[in-house]
């Protein structure tokens, strides 16, 4: 258990594929929620498709948490085969408890060398003592006991997770879990029982993204599977049907983005979701949506690149591609959720922005945010005034791409009599006729830039916390880590610090930024990629304080709060 925030307790459950550690982790999280705790879980897997080692990394806390801790209080290995690669992400120390089954291989050297307290638990033997019992349930009961979770909560979590398999299955699992629980003892875990059962959400970032899309009004999605974005599409499939919409599986990403553009041209708010390689294939379609002025949301759940990269690991390295990737001068919008739960809000906002500006909006999520599951307070629905400027009454000399003051031209939907026009990726006149004339080109370029630049993004462009002459600028999944790092630093440091988390990456908000940086004389930019992509972008487009530093390193490991706290502390003292 590490100091701030609140009382936090981190558990890693390891085991070979099929051992069920992810299920156990899920249940642990649900049981903790039932006891009024908050929490977060991510899964770490080896390269094997199945049967390799995997780990559930669970963090429980008395206050909301959106990132992993630096170290683990408990590491339980159902077995330790092929665990080496995973263990690099699981720091243990002399305060950690390591739980191992005497029937299995000895704990790996790196763990033994840490000085952690070793506890033996006969998981296999205990599981076998219940007919049909499984080791993962024994493990669940044991760590739940360490975390001070009640038996009732464990039973409830098991029920919820495997209830559909029938009473018998539930009883067997509960019996196995209780055996583990009985061997356990309360450790220095967070205070449970503070919350109220039944008023927490358990949600992954990818599902949160789907929820935001539905709330925003998306009723068509086109899908091509790709790790780590697939769950957005899989979650949406049945729910879109329920909502009276559809999800169509496409043959590739070229098709999926063009299907979404076609549906949106028809008036139906549309989305597709992908990751780096798919984004690269969607670049041409994004440009079409820019030129033909079609609202569109593309969620890009970033993974480590370049190329196929490391599909199961996060990195904030598609920033450049999302901002600058389109050929020609192609104004569009890029937003980024800054926590798992913020996916709901930011995605809903993205739909709003796309519809309102008739432009494509890229949502830059990442593998961490997308696949982490948090226990959090329910995310209230927000009603944006999501409305496309539709031409319903068609005046005499109607022009689809009319030059308007705000740059937004009323768009007739098919079915509207008299509004017939041809949407076009060729440059065109206001009347939607192909045109190579300089004045048409610059009028349309100006209009398309203006509608994005002049739109009212309100206060949503960034989350600003604190005040002071030092500022930290960050985005995406790194933001939660920075937030927690700041909580760990002494007041004399944080009292001088302002945290700016950009939600709107494009267009630039020069005035808002100037206001946010007012009085700031030093700036630190923190991001997870190899070249400092955000830092370079900020230099290009904003007036920054003279003294700007940058912290950036690539994936695959996410930042941890301690690592960032140290960097910030050193920077403040410079």
């Amino acid at each position: 258990m590490t100091g701030q925030p609140g009382m936090s307790f981190s558990v890693a459950l390891l085991g070979k594929g099929g051992a069920g550690v992810i299920t156990a982790g899920d249940m642990l999280l649900a049981a903790a929620a039932r006891c009024g705790l908050y929490g977060l879980m991510i899964r770490a897997v080896g390269p094997q498709i199945r049967g390799g080692e995997s780990a559930a990394l669970v963090r429980l806390s008395s206050v909301p948490v959106e990132c992993l801790d630096d170290r683990f209080d408990v590491v339980l290995g159902i077995d330790w085969k092929q665990a080496e690669q995973l263990l690099s992400e699981i720091a243990v120390d002399a305060d950690s408890i390591v739980v191992t089954d005497p029937a299995e291989d000895a704990v790996p050297h790196s763990i033994a060398a840490s000085g952690a307290v070793l506890r033996q638990l006969e998981m296999k033997e205990l599981a076998e003592s219940v007919s049909g019992g499984r080791v993962n349930m024994v493990a669940l009961g044991y760590v739940a006991g360490l975390a001070g979770i009640s038996q009732e909560a464990i039973r409830h979590a098991i029920e919820k997770n495997i209830g559909r398999k029938g009473r018998q299955a539930v009883d067997v699992s509960v019996a196995a879990a209780m055996l583990g629980f009985s061997r356990s003892q309360r450790s220095a875990a967070p205070q449970t029982g503070g919350g109220q059962a039944g008023n927490r959400w358990m949600i992954s970032g990818n599902h949160a993204t789907g929820l935001g899309a539905l709330r925003g009004g998306v009723r068509f999605a086109a899908a091509y599977p790709i790790t780590p974005a697939t769950e957005i599409l899989e979650w949406l499939a049945p729910r879109l049907k329920d909502a009276g919409g559809t999800l169509t599986q496409a043959e590739d990403e070229l098709a999926s983005i063009n299907m979404a553009i076609g549906a949106s041209y028809g008036g139906v708010p549309s989305l597709t979701a992908t990751s780096g390689p798919g984004l690269s294939l969607m670049i041409e379609g994004l440009g079409l949506a820019v030129c033909a002025e079609i609202p569109l949301v593309v969620v890009n759940v970033m993974r480590a690149g370049p190329s196929t990269g490391i599909p199961t690991k996060p990195e904030q390295s598609d920033f450049n591609a999302a901002i600058y990737g389109l050929h020609g001068d192609a104004p569009h919008i890029v937003v980024a959720p800054n926590s798992v739960t913020d996916c709901v809000y930011t995605t809903q906002w993205a739909v709003h922005l796309a519809e309102a500006t008739q432009a494509p909006v890229i949502v830059l999520s990442d593998q961490f945010i997308g696949q982490a599951i948090v226990v959090a307070d329910p995310v209230p629905a927000i009603s944006f005034f999501t409305k496309r400027k539709v031409a319903e009454e068609i005046p005499e000399a109607f022009e689809r791409y009319a030059i308007t003051a705000d740059g937004i031209s009323p768009m007739p939907l098919p079915g509207t009599a008299g509004g017939q026009y041809t949407a076009d990726g060729l440059e065109h006149s206001a009347a939607a006729k192909p045109s190579g004339i300089a004045s048409d080109h610059s009028a349309q370029l100006d209009k398309r830039a203006r509608k994005i630049a002049d739109f009212d993004y309100g206060q949503h462009w960034a989350d600003i916390e604190g005040a002071g002459e030092l500022a930290i600028l960050t985005w995406g999944s790194t933001a939660s880590v920075v937030r927690e790092a700041l909580q760990r630093l002494p007041d004399k440091v944080t009292g001088r610090l302002k945290l700016i988390t950009l939600r709107l990456l494009l267009p630039v908000r020069q005035e808002d930024m100037a206001a946010a940086l007012d009085g700031v004389n030093r700036l630190l930019v923190i991001e997870q990629n190899h070249t400092g992509q955000l830092y370079r972008f900020l230099r290009a487009w904003y007036d920054l304080p003279a003294d700007v530093d940058t912290v950036h390193r690539p994936g695959p490991g996410v930042f941890r709060p301690g690592e960032i706290a140290t960097r910030i502390d050193a920077w403040c003292g410079e």
């Binding site: 919409g245 043959e251 070229l254 098709a255 076609g262 139906v268 041409e284 079915g415």
Partner: protein, 281 residues
């Protein structure tokens, strides 16, 4: 959202009322003028309401056709007309959706979408103006070009066998397959009307001469002939027929009756409540 149904009653417009009045960029004598004429006649014969019709295309001379029609149009990017049309029709089943383009657009860069559109069987009509050339880019061989056709890009010919669009369409599950000749406006009009009326994915290959880069295609009018037999409902038989014919058979070759993809679904009135409940733990 906007899943309203076609409101206007079928109207009685003349074929010329379906033209937008924009002057085509096409070369004088281009076969695509005949396709434009046939299409407007077919639409007029079906008495389609202009605002409930959408014509979607890619890039190429032929793909310029939406702008010449009085209906909703989308001139997309090269090779992606079918996905555009698919998304539009699935989202707006109330519209009549026609997809149009060239052999380069549809069979070269867009070939994969043809396969999958046939399989998927969305209720759209796909019209390919096949001139066995990339016209717009000034005369490169397309997938339907003969292997010995000489050009700058492939001096002496590509040496590559041509693509059989109708066979591929049949093998992939298209629900209606026909070939027409642009110069035969009457036959093309009839076939297009039938294709549009046929449920599911209908595919019409129109032999449409490029008078500029393939002046030899002026001969096509002497080569085309009706098929020896009437259409079949057996795709294997139809495929065998066109795999062995001379390529100038015109008329309807196949009609199927497969289930259509993406019919309108009923909204679940409880769905918003369910959404909020789903994450509670």
């Amino acid at each position: 959202m906007v899943r309203r149904m076609s409101v206007a009653a079928p109207c009685k417009l003349k074929a010329s009322d379906y033209k937008s009045g924009t002057k085509p960029v096409w070369c004088p004598g281009c076969g695509d003028f005949h396709v434009l004429a046939s299409l407007t006649k077919a639409i007029a014969a079906l008495a389609l309401v202009p605002e409930n019709l959408a014509v979607v295309s890619g890039i190429g001379c032929s793909s310029r056709i939406p702008a010449y029609l009085n209906c909703y149009g989308f001139h997309g990017v090269h090779g992606r007309a079918l996905p555009l049309a698919t998304g539009l029709k699935v989202a707006r089943p109330d519209l009549t959706v026609i997809c149009a383009g060239g052999d380069g657009d549809g069979f070269s860069i867009g070939g994969n979408h043809l396969l999958h559109a046939c399989r998927r069987n969305v209720d759209i009509t796909y019209v390919v103006m096949d001139n066995e050339i990339y016209g717009m880019t000034k005369g490169q061989p397309s997938p339907t070009t003969a292997p010995d056709w000489d050009s700058e890009l492939a001096p002496g010919g590509t040496g590559v066998s041509p693509f059989h669009p109708l066979v591929i369409a049949l093998a992939s599950g298209a629900n209606f397959v026909a070939r027409t000749f642009a110069g035969d406006v009457k036959g093309t009009t009839r076939t297009l009307a039938e294709a549009i009326g046929h449920p599911g994915f209908s595919f019409v290959q129109i032999l449409s001469p490029c008078v500029t880069f393939r002046p030899d295609q002026r001969e096509w009018k002497n080569k085309v002939h009706p098929p020896p037999v009437t259409f079949t409902t057996d795709p294997a038989q139809a495929a065998r027929r066109v795999m062995t014919d001379d390529g100038f058979n015109i008329g309807v070759l196949y009609k199927g009756s497969r289930d259509i993809y993406g019919q309108a679904v009923e909204r679940n009135a409880e769905f918003e409540r369910d959404l909020d409940a789903e994450f509670l733990v």
